[in-house]
Symmetry: C2
């Protein structure tokens, strides 16, 4: 699989890494970068993440949309009239139902050319400067293909992500959004909320002063891109709310164990959680 | 400051690292290891973490108690009659009010010899095999000295932890327990609860299967030692409950932002949290 011309809309961590990975795999010719931020685009060009910037992308063979998801309606509407018939479009959005709705509205009859994807390879870094050809290596990419997609288009997108080193699987969009709400979107919300709570306290300087490695790792994702995570939380708010409510119920169930100093029940919960996490780390759920 | 004979009760991550760090700094002579687990003690001996095991520690010049905190009453009661008058005792417990109460009950008139300490240098690894001479390097150690402690005893304990590479500060025990509840004990409880929630779901295999780096770091502390964290949560349950209730209130305040898709408010919260965390990472609260 070789794409003569690739266009990346939004040359950030995901878009820039996609460009670098395809180049490293010799899976593409020229890469055109498009985006809102002139300084970021210029940096992407200077660092060789993309070959040209701001050019027309109408003749691209493969387009990756990798902006925050709230920009998709505008981006896809601008793309639609210029997209050639043989082109394939994929994306890097962390939510899929809203992305598909936006694509249907914007692309119309060209919807068959759009194969939705979510590379599960975020980081708290952002921008073209964070891009890496290795970002997707052994990471999961979930495709949520549409009934309209020709098999060849899905296979082409799968091949592109595999060329980036990713492990590609397929899922229904609604299922994807529910799964990611539980294991990604909720933890982000929880980490942001904890840091915000600590930061808003009168003694926040002292609290941060004695925060250590556990706090650092627990809150790493609270350094993530606020706009990107705003869009994800809004786009996936129904599923995120489900997960938040489950978690609130869990904490309400844990609360009396703490209040009553129920050491046996706490140890059981901690040991079961630890055992599950160790099984996960050992690759039992790969 | 040189301690001819050091005794470590509980040769795990903290106790073993203390022994190795003092040896590396040439701040001690012989190190005697004592503990419940024969296999762990034997490993500590074989790996040179301690020089002898199971020996009498009555003639030790410095004793570190580094067991889970619920064992302190038993450990200190056994230690009390054997402790020589010139000996100093410190500890590695993550809670301090309960530790001090246990020490007062067990040590009686020898309480002046006990200088409570908390090295803020945990890890999800445990046991002598996880010990490292570098664990405390540039980490904080909080001393919560007692009114009975002679200045020389506090200084000796401070010097011992400084020899391990730590930055030593002093605090009231109650203040310590409140601060650590917020930035350490609560995050541990939250991480354990999230993993336990995911593990208990019918679709847990799929959820874990698509969990990635964000989930991994957020839940790293859910791989911590269940017994140790049981003891911490029970010992510090009043402060932990305060923090849990504050966090529940925070999540209840965030909930309508998600439910209503209030992007502006979510972005503001995320951006403020991120900015606070970046200031912390930049060392503003050191």
């Amino acid at each position: 699989m070789h794409f003569a011309k690739v266009a990346v809309v939004g040359v950030g961590l995901i878009g820039g890494s996609f460009a670098l990975a395809l180049k490293a795999a010799r899976a593409c010719g020229e890469v055109v970068g498009v985006g809102r931020g002139a300084a970021n685009l210029k940096l992407a060009l200077e660092q060789g993440v993309v070959d040209t910037i701001g050019a027309d992308i109408g003749d691209a063979d493969l387009v990756l949309v990798a902006t925050p998801v709230a920009q998709y309606p505008r981006v896809l509407a601008a793309l639609a009239p210029r997209l050639k018939a043989s082109a394939i479009v994929t994306d890097g959005g962390s939510t899929k139902r809203d992305v598909i709705a936006a694509a249907r509205a914007a692309l119309g009859a060209k919807i068959a050319q759009f194969v939705p994807a979510h590379p599960i390879a975020g980081a708290e870094r952002s921008g073209a400067s964070a891009a890496s050809a290795e970002l997707f290596r052994n990471k999961r990419v979930v495709l949520t293909p549409l009934p309209e997609n020709p098999a060849a288009a899905v296979q082409a997108v799968e091949a592109a992500w595999q060329a980036c080193g990713a492990r590609v699987s397929r899922m229904e969009a609604a299922e994807h959004d529910a799964v990611l709400a539980a294991v990604s979107h909720l933890p982000h919300l929880l980490a942001y909320a904890l840091v915000h709570e600590v930061a808003g306290r009168a003694d926040s300087a002292q609290l941060f002063g004695f925060a250590a490695g556990g706090f650092r790792d627990f809150t790493r994702i609270a350094s993530s891109h606020p706009e990107m995570w705003r869009d994800i939380c809004v786009a996936n708010r129904d599923r995120l709310l489900d997960e938040l409510d489950r978690y609130l119920a869990k904490l309400q169930a844990v609360r009396p164990l703490v209040e009553n100093g129920d050491g046996a029940a706490l140890e059981k919960l901690f040991a079961e959680a630890r055992a599950a996490r160790q099984r996960w780390l050992a690759g039992e759920y790969e």
